[in-house]
Symmetry: C2
Subunit: 578 residues, 2 copies
Amino acid sequence: MALRRSIPLLEWARTYTRADLNGDLLAGTITAIMLVPQAMAFSLLAGLPPQAGLYASILPPVAYAVLGTSRTLAVGPVSVAAIMVAQALASLPPDSDRLAASVLLALLAGIVLIVLGVLRLGLLANFLSHPVLSGFTTAAALVIVAAQLPSLLGIALPRDWQPDDLPALVAAFNPAALAIGAGALALLWFAATGLERVLRAGGMSAAAASSASKTAPLLAVVAGTVAVGVFDLDTVHGVQVVGSLPAGLPELDLDLPGWTTLIGLLPSAALIAFVGYVESVSIAKTLANRRRQMIDPNQELVALGAANVSAAISGGMPVAGGFSRTMVNFNAGARTQAASILTAALVALVALLFTPLLAHVPKAVLAAIIIFAVSRLVDVRTALLAWRYDRIDGAVLLTTALGVLTLGIETGLVAGLVLSLLAYVWRASRPHFAVIGRVRGTEHFRNVLRYSNLETWPHLLLLRVDEHLSFANTVYLEQALMQQVAARPKLEHMVLVCSGINGVDFSALEMLVKLTLSLRAAGITLHLAEVKGPVMDRLRETELMHRLPPGRVFLSTHEAVEALRSTRHPRGSRDSGK
Amino acid sequence: MALRRSIPLLEWARTYTRADLNGDLLAGTITAIMLVPQAMAFSLLAGLPPQAGLYASILPPVAYAVLGTSRTLAVGPVSVAAIMVAQALASLPPDSDRLAASVLLALLAGIVLIVLGVLRLGLLANFLSHPVLSGFTTAAALVIVAAQLPSLLGIALPRDWQPDDLPALVAAFNPAALAIGAGALALLWFAATGLERVLRAGGMSAAAASSASKTAPLLAVVAGTVAVGVFDLDTVHGVQVVGSLPAGLPELDLDLPGWTTLIGLLPSAALIAFVGYVESVSIAKTLANRRRQMIDPNQELVALGAANVSAAISGGMPVAGGFSRTMVNFNAGARTQAASILTAALVALVALLFTPLLAHVPKAVLAAIIIFAVSRLVDVRTALLAWRYDRIDGAVLLTTALGVLTLGIETGLVAGLVLSLLAYVWRASRPHFAVIGRVRGTEHFRNVLRYSNLETWPHLLLLRVDEHLSFANTVYLEQALMQQVAARPKLEHMVLVCSGINGVDFSALEMLVKLTLSLRAAGITLHLAEVKGPVMDRLRETELMHRLPPGRVFLSTHEAVEALRSTRHPRGSRDSGK
C-alpha cells in the first residue's frame, strides 16, 4: 500500500485494461506529434539549442508517469518555464555555457521540489494567489510573443541592440521568413477554429476530425521545411533554420559547476519550480475532478521534482505539466500515464532517426507555433473580473503584470507575491469585534449595535472579537479596545469573550500583556471568557496568565456576568469563581 | 476642533498649568543633559560629523511638539536609525558627500511618513510583527556594539581593512583611549545600578537622586574631556577626539541632488521611516495608556514626518522617538511637549556657545555611551519566550536576527518582514471546517465529530467553514471538500454553510466556480446557506451565481435541509424554494 502510494504507476498498471490501451495509444501519438515542434520551439525561446527541448521530452514524462498522481498530465518543456530560463540565462556572463546553466536550473528546480515534497509542504502552492498567477501568465505570454516577433519577421537581433536601432532592424525584415511564419499562423488558426467542422462536413467521424486537427503544428513544420528545401530559402533567401542537431539520444551525464554558480541560479530555479508546480497541479486537479480522481499535492512535488532531475540528467531544460498539451492528451482519450510513456518513446525515435530533417525546420514556423500557443494565455477577462469583484485583487493582478513587463519576469513575480501577502495582512488588520449585552432573562449574548433592549452594565464591558489575534490586528485592536475604555469612565471590568478566537500569536500575546498592565494602571481588570481549548493550552504557561490575576478566566460569558455584574471590588471576589 | 486635532499643541497649551510647567522644566533639562552627548555619539555611529546629531536635536523635537499626539515622546537622533544611516551610506561611492546623503535620507523618510499620514495608513505599522521587531532590534544593537568597539579601543580602522588584518589592528589598541572608555562604561553602569541608592543613603531626596543619576553621560563626557585636556591625551597619546565643530546654529537650507540618488536612497529611507515610526508609536502608546491618553497613529505619521523634514532642513540626520530618552523624560516628570521644546532650546544653546569645548570630547567616551545605551536593547528573554510560546514566531525572530547579523540591517529586516507574512499566510492555510448534522427535533446544527446522535443524510452533505475564504486556504479547502465527496458515493447535494465566512477573495471565488463545475460533472449540486449580507452583495454579480443554478442560496441551514433532505431530483425541485 505504502509502495503504491509512493509509486502510483503500480496502482494504475495493476488494473490496466484493453480500453485503457486503446485510449492511451491514440492520445500518446497525438501528443507526440504536437510535442516535437513545441519542444524545439521552447528550446529556442529559452535561448538554447533545439535538442534541449527534445531531450527534456523523453525521460521527464517517464519519470512523472512512474511517480505522478495525475493520470493525464503531460509533462515536458513549457513556454512559461522557457521564458523564465531565458531571463535567468540573460544575467549570466555572455561567454557562459547556456546549456550547462539550463541543465543546472532543471537540477536545482528538481531538488527544490523533491525537498519540499519530502517535507510535505504542498500547501506552499497557497502562496501563489489567483490574481498573481493570472497577471503573471498574461504578462509572461506578452513577453514571449515579443521575444518571438524577430524570428517571425526573420530579423537577426544583435545581442547589443539599442532601441534606436529598432526601425532599421524592422525595415530589414525577411519577406520569405515572414511569409512562412504568417502561413503557419494562418494554418494553426484555421486548424483550431474551422478545420474540424470542414473535415466532419467532408464525412470524417468526429473523433478522427478532432485528432486530425491536432496535427496542425506538425503540418506547419513539414510544409515550412519542404518550402525551405524546394526554394532553397535558407541558403538563397536567408531564412533562418534550426540548424544541425546532434544525432541520437543524449548522453546521460551531469557536470556540476561551482558553488557560486549554484547559489546564483538557485532563486531563479526555485521560482521556475514554484510556478511550474502550481500550474501543473492546477491543471491536474481540474482534470482529476472530472473523473472523481484525486491528486496528492505532496506526491506531485516529488514527481515533478524527479521529472526535472531527469531532465537535467539528459541534458535538457526545466519541465512542468503543459496546459495545452495536457488538454490535448485528455481530450484525445488518454486514460493513464502509459500515454505519456508512448509519447516519450516517439520523441526518442524522432531524436534517433530524424535529426537531419529537423535541421531544416525554419525558425519562423516555430515562432508561429509559440505565438499561437501562448496567445491563449493572455487573459484580459480575468483581469476585468478580478477588478470588478475586488479592487485589491484587481490591483494585485495589474501590478504583477506591469511588474513582469517592466521589471522582468522574476522581479515582477516576486513583487506580485509580496504585494498579495501585504494585501492579505492588510485585509485582516481590522477584525470584526462587538460590544455584547445579555438578552434579558436568558444566558444569550448579542451585539449591542444589532439588538436593542439588551442588558449592559456601566462598570462591566463585554467585548467579543471574531478573528484570531495576530500581529496583523494587534495595532487596531489595542486602539479600538482603549477607545471603548476611554468612553466608559465608570469601567472596572473588561471581559474579552474569546469564542471566535482560534489562535493568539506572540505579537498578540505581548499586546494582551501590555493591555492588562495598561488597564490595571487605569483601575480596570481584564478577564477572559470562553477561551477555546487549544488556545488556553498555549496561554496557560505564559506571562499573561501570571499577570492576569486578579483578572480571571471564565468558562462562559454568563458565568463572567454572574460573577462580575454586582461586585465592584474584584479583589474580594476572587474566590467566588471556580 | 479640526485645527486642534491637526495641531495637538493647541490642545495642551490651552489647559497648561503651573504644575505642568514645574514638571516640564525639570524633565526638559535632564533630557537635554542626556541628549547632547548622545546626539554627537549617534552622529559618529552614523558616520557623520558630530554636529549632524546636534542639529537634528533642535528643530525636530519642536516640530513634533507642535504636531505630535504624545505628550512625552522625546524625538531626536536614535541609535537604530543611526546604524541604518551608516549602512545606507556605506553603499554610496567613497567620495560622496555623506552629510548631504544623510540629509536626503531624513527628507525622504519625512516625506514617506507625511504621505502615509495624509493617506491615513497608520495601520501599516501592523506589518511589523513583534518577533520581527525584537529580532531586528537585538541584532541591530549587536551590530552597533561591534561598530563602536574600535572607538572604545582607540583603533583607527582603515576603510579597506580585511579580516586578516584584525589581530594586528587589535594589538595596536590605544591604552589611554581604552582606559577612558572603560572608565566611562563603569561610571554609566554605576549610575544606572547603585548611584541612586548611594545618594539617597547620603540624605538626598528620592527625586533629586534620580535626577542626579541621569547626569552620568554628561559627567562621563566632562571627565573624559578634562582628562584629555590635562594629560594632552589627544596630541601626545593619540586619543581620538570629536574634533572641531562648526560654531553656531545650522544654516537652514536644502540642496536637492539628482533623481538617481533620490531613487537609490528611497528604499533605505522608507525602512528607516518605518522602523522609527513603529518604535516611536509603540513607546508613545505605552506611556499614553498609563495616563489614559490617546495616541492617533495617523497624526503620529504626520508629526514624525514633519520632524524628519525639519531635521533635513537643519542639515541633520533622520530622527525618531528614542526609547531611553523618552523614559527619562517621562520619569523626570514631563507633562507636555513643552519639556521637548525646552530640551531643544538647551541643545541650541550648547551648539551656539560650547562647540569649542565639544571638540575635545574623546570618541571613546561617546562609544561607551552608545554601547551602554544599546546593550539594553539586546533582548534574549523575548527570543526565548517567543520560541517557547510558538515555534513559528520564534523562528521568525531568529531568522530576522541572523539575517541582520549576516546579510546587513536592511536585507535582514526585509527578510524578516517577508518571512512573517509567509508565516501568517501559512497559518491561515488550514482553516477549520466541520461536517454538521441536525440535533434531532430542533433547528440546531452541530459538528458531527463532537456530538453524537445527530441527523445526517447519505445524499446530503452540510459543510461549515469557519474562516474567510482566500487564496491562503483555497488549495486546502478544495482538497478537503473533494475528499469528503469521494467518501460519499451516494452524494447528490452539498450545502456550504457560510455563517463563519466574513469574506471571499477572488482566488476563492474562482475556486468555488471550479468546485461547482467539478461537482456538477460528478452529479452533485452545490448550494450555499447563511451567506452574510456583505459577502452576498459581492457574490451576487459574479459568474459563481450564474453557474450555481440549479444550486440554490438558502437563508438558513434548516431551510436548506427541509428543501433537500427528501428530494433526490434537484432539478425538479427548483421552484419549491423561494
